[in-house]
């Protein structure tokens, strides 16, 4: 398969092109054999891990063509995770969106409360297939960690979760959940003590214990085959959403919106619509305190190409190639990198990326709660904020699907403080 020419300039590769695609519906838009999406992706990791990545890629390819694996995965999705998730119209919320109709893809209703369960079930099954007995994972908000601990409990795998110390404080309840599920949670106190450093620490563990251990990466980043494999485990989101919106409205949406940290929920829903040229694919990044403030996680909006955690993609970096720490009120979007396929979708123009600030996301968080009785994850609230603006732009009669990637229970502490619902003692406060 031909490799695309490397992009040598920061904004190169703006011409439209499509990634090489394989045979059959499951392999549409696959990267090259070496995991390249145009100039992005690949493997920028220590040689010590290449054998494990090769083994994983080979096992995944076999599993993908094995009907038994597919049946087992589908069965877990249906009878354990609770798929298909609903597609819910949000008419009262949409009144604030310029007359657009808005539908929510309810990944918040999955077991463990987010889309993350799709990928962890797939990878946990693969771990068993490979005969490995120990799983490690990173987590930011705690959703991937909880999902991983859940799958490990279900499938009898040892589980160690690396979590930045800052995040263990922001998401203390999720730490307790993971421990209840039998996982060991290791607070990471190096670097920025957030998701980026949790991934570094997980990679160090993996280099040391690769014979027995599978690194169950939680997003579409990392070295090949993680970006394509994680995407494909989440593709069910888009497949369902496309079918459901056609059933509900008889037509395809004008736009699909999803939040983007590493980008797994976004790529999952985009996958269902990327061959429908009339559907705009809109990723919404974390604008934090605003791009000009420097305190944000808007990697595709304001980053530049480089390598982080095993793949070439966009990242937040300084002139010397040192990673710049990201910021977001949402722990799950607080990441200075992004999956390589998103970089390629941006450069080719198939998807567009914008951002919502903390304030915009929290407005949308409260608005959805009060108009629809659905408390979204703050991550997903970024997508909702993006949809409100898209609705204004697209106008009356337009149709938008938002990926509601997770539920907001885990965020109540942050939200209660943000809105002043509790006083300093954690009780009472203004109404």
């Amino acid at each position: 398969m031909p490799e695309a020419e490397p992009v040598t300039e920061r904004d190169g590769g703006t011409g439209r092109a499509s990634a090489p695609s394989g045979e059959g519906t499951g392999q549409q838009h696959d990267p090259t054999d070496r995991g390249h999406f145009g100039p992005y992706g690949g493997r920028f990791l220590p040689e010590a891990l290449i054998g494990a990545l090769d083994e994983l890629a080979a096992e995944y390819d076999k599993a993908r063509q094995d009907p038994e694996f597919g049946e087992r995965f589908d069965d877990l999705l249906a009878n354990y995770a609770g798929r298909p998730s609903l597609l819910t119209e949000a008419p009262r919320f949409a009144e604030h969106a310029g007359g657009a109709r808005i539908f929510l893809k309810r990944e918040d209703l999955n077991h463990t409360g987010s889309h993350k369960i799709n990928n962890v079930l797939g990878q946990a099954l693969l771990t068993k297939r490979m005969g490995k007995t120990r799983v490690i994972a990173e987590t930011g908000a705690g959703q991937h960690g909880v999902a991983t601990a859940t799958a490990c409990a279900l499938l009898d795998l040892d589980c160690v979760i690396y979590m930045g110390e800052v995040d263990t404080e922001r998401q203390a309840l999720n730490v307790a959940r993971m421990r209840l599920l039998g996982a060991e949670v290791v607070p990471v106190n190096t670097g920025s003590r957030t998701l980026k450093d949790a991934i570094n620490e997980a990679l160090r563990d993996w280099v040391t214990n690769v014979d027995t251990t599978h690194y169950l990466l939680g997003t579409v980043a990392g070295g090949h085959p993680f970006p394509v494999m994680v995407r494909n485990f989440h593709a069910v989101i888009g497949e369902e959403a496309r079918r459901q919106i056609l059933d509900a409205t008889g037509r395809l949406p004008d736009a699909v919106a999803a939040c983007v940290g590493g980008g797994s929920n976004a790529i999952g829903i985009f996958q269902g619509f990327r061959d429908d040229p009339g559907v705009r694919l809109v990723g919404v990044e974390a604008g934090g305190h605003g791009i000009d403030s420097g305190a944000h996680g808007a990697t595709l909006t304001s980053g530049s190409p480089g390598m982080l955690h095993g793949a070439r993609s966009y990242l937040l970096q300084d002139d010397d190639g040192q990673t710049i720490e990201a910021y977001s009120i949402s722990a799950g979007l607080d990441y200075p990198g992004v999956g390589p396929e998103h970089a390629w979708l941006k450069d080719t123009g198939r998807a567009e990326y914008r951002y919502a600030t903390d304030a915009e996301a929290m407005d949308a968080f409260q608005l959805l709660s009060r108009t629809e009785g659905i408390i979204p994850a703050i991550e997903s609230a970024h997508a909702l904020a993006g949809a409100l603006r898209l609705g204004q732009e697209l106008g009356a009669g337009s149709l938008i699907v938002v990926n509601l990637s997770g539920r907001g229970d885990k965020d109540m502490d942050t939200a209660a403080k943000y809105f002043g619902y509790v006083d300093d003692h954690g009780t009472g406060g203004r109404s």
């Binding site: 920028f44 010590a48 040192q322």
Partner: protein, 270 residues
């Protein structure tokens, strides 16, 4: 014969292993790192591995992570690595640079190679760049006559070792254990086996790193490898100043000359 070939040839002619010492540029400060590296050369290292402090060093254990963090907080800029390399050359030493790939990618691969060669550096060791992804570096290193050292690990298949050896020039870097950098009481038992597997496919000198901290370990490694690479132990010793670093270099230099270092006989020459 490139500068690096001459370094290994000199040690071989004395029937001993080479000693490669690592310290990060800019640790604890730029001036401090130049002095510490000077002390390492005075103590007898054959080749200096100048590290580039990086924000996300996934191959490094706590010691080198902490040193990188200190260097960055104290204002290390990437171009400072060339100042350090120049200082090594000015002292009559030899230097290669060990760096994660993103800083080089950001600087521009060809520009980095050009400036490294101009500073008198011999080449690069690239812990997170595998030959499969190294097209730009293969071209730049050829254009600027720099050596390329790729890594092999106990988990590498024969095909992967062939690939790394085929793409490397100067020397090949064998990581003794599965894991990150850091001084260990024992060098992995798999190290000798890995060097043996490398020897089946290449005539390049093979250096062994990850975990060596004592003269005894240096002697043991020198009994089966061409070069002994010491990193974290030097970084730890740097806290105690230049004399301590020079003393460690001298101890290790004795180690690679010890009678137990395989067939190598102590030459008594320096």
């Amino acid at each position: 014969m490139s500068g690096l070939d001459a370094v290994f040839a000199a040690a071989r002619s004395e029937q001993r292993g080479s000693l490669i010492g690592y310290l990060p540029a800019g640790y604890p400060t730029l001036e401090g790192s130049i002095e510490l590296i000077g002390a390492m050369i005075d103590g007898g290292v054959d080749l200096v591995e100048v590290g580039v402090p990086y924000s996300d060093p996934v191959m490094d254990g706590p010691t080198i992570q902490a040193a990188a963090g200190t260097a960055l907080r104290n204002g290390f800029r990437l171009r400072d690595v060339f100042t350090v390399v120049e200082s090594v050359a000015a002292r009559g030493g030899h230097a290669v640079v060990m760096t994660y790939w993103n800083p080089v990618h950001r600087y521009g691969v060809d520009a980095f190679a050009r400036d490294l060669a101009a500073a008198g550096g011999h080449g690069l060791i690239t812990p997170d760049l595998i030959p499969d992804e190294a097209e730009e570096w293969l071209a730049a290193s050829a254009a600027h006559e720099l050596s390329r050292t790729f890594l092999i690990s106990p988990s590498s298949s024969r095909a992967r070792i062939e690939r790394a050896a085929g793409a490397s020039t100067g020397f090949l870097y064998a990581t003794a254990v599965m894991g990150v950098t850091g001084a260990r009481d024992q060098v992995g038992a798999g190290a000798a086996e890995l060097v043996g597997r490398a020897r089946e496919v290449t005539d390049l000198p093979v250096g062994v790193g990850l975990g060596v901290r004592s003269a005894g370990q240096a002697a043991e490694v020198a009994s089966f490898a061409d070069a002994v690479i010491v990193g974290s132990a030097f970084v730890s010793r740097a806290d105690s100043g230049t004399r301590a670093v020079r003393d460690l270099a001298a101890e290790l230099a004795d180690g690679v000359r010890a009678p137990s270092a395989g067939e190598a006989r102590p030459s008594g020459l320096r």
